[in-house]
Amino acid sequence: MPTKPAGTLYRGREGMWSWVGHRITGVVIFFFLLVHVLDTSLVRVSPEAYTAVIGAYKNPLMALGETGLVAAILFHAFNGLRVIAVDFWKKGAKYQRQMLWIVLAVWLVVFAGFAIRHLSLALGGH
């Protein structure tokens, strides 16, 4: 097997970059999921252990992290629905580019709504 590919199949533009984004967000979400099951499992240890660790999610820096995580989840979700449309809808492949712009528009609206609500709750007077 050659160590370097002879050419490249990466074609850029909406198709490739949405695929890159889907992979990166997927990996980020997966690693968070592992941590999140572990931290939630502390409810089985003791109420104090759980409440102490979940307290770590409530500082301002983590609030930004959570907002970033939700940004990744929303992109992965909406782009995933686009992938399903590309695969199962007769005209999906033809309109994949337009569908990516729809994905980004919906993402922007939903993410803005989430970020405003979550950050004002998380950073607000408490």
Binding site: V27, F30, V37, T40, R44, P47, Y50, I73, L121, H126
Partner: protein
């Protein structure tokens, strides 16, 4: 003038309908595992959109949001079988969906057979531990623990 006859890629001799030998994959051991994995990603994906959006909405956007989350919050949810099964479905589907995604990435980028093998061993071990741990936590959890002889407060707990 003879027209050039271009065969479609999967036909052997033109018109025979057979797959040319050079396109044949190793014959007898073919399974449709990869097709089922592909299908699973799409089906679980749709369900996960609903489960995770619901999870985020109920835990982060309602009431005082993240500040409401503590032991009592989780206990209150898991005192109800509805949320137990919601979280169980989310755990299993998300872990299998994520594991298959990472498996695809390992297959794409790890070139040596040995690296692919060991990366997948680590991945499957982590998945097994997390799925079993999460499942046990959801179903063996006691939402009404008695700490030092005192019942923790919670409207969902039976009176001692």
């Amino acid at each position: 003038m003879t027209a050039t006859n271009i065969q479609s890629p999967r036909s052997g001799q033109s018109g025979s309908g057979k797959i040319a030998p050079k396109y044949q994959r190793s014959g007898s051991s073919r399974s449709n595992f990869e097709m089922l994995a592909w299908l699973f990603m799409r089906l679980s994906g749709v369900v996960l959109v609903v489960l995770i959006f619901g999870h985020l909405f109920v835990n982060l956007l309602v009431g005082e949001g993240i500040h409401a989350i503590d032991f009592g919050f989780v206990a209150g949810k898991w005192a109800d079988p509805f949320w137990q099964f919601w979280d169980l479905a989310m755990l299993w589907l998300a872990m299998l969906h994520g594991t298959n995604g990472v498996r695809t990435i390992i297959n794409d980028y790890a070139e040596k057979d040995a690296s692919r093998f060991w990366l997948k061993v680590v991945l499957y071990a982590a998945t097994t531990v997390i799925v079993i741990l999460g499942t046990l936590v959801i179903f063996t959890f006691n939402p009404c623990p008695v700490v030092d002889g005192v019942q923790l407060p919670g409207g969902f707990c039976p009176k001692p």
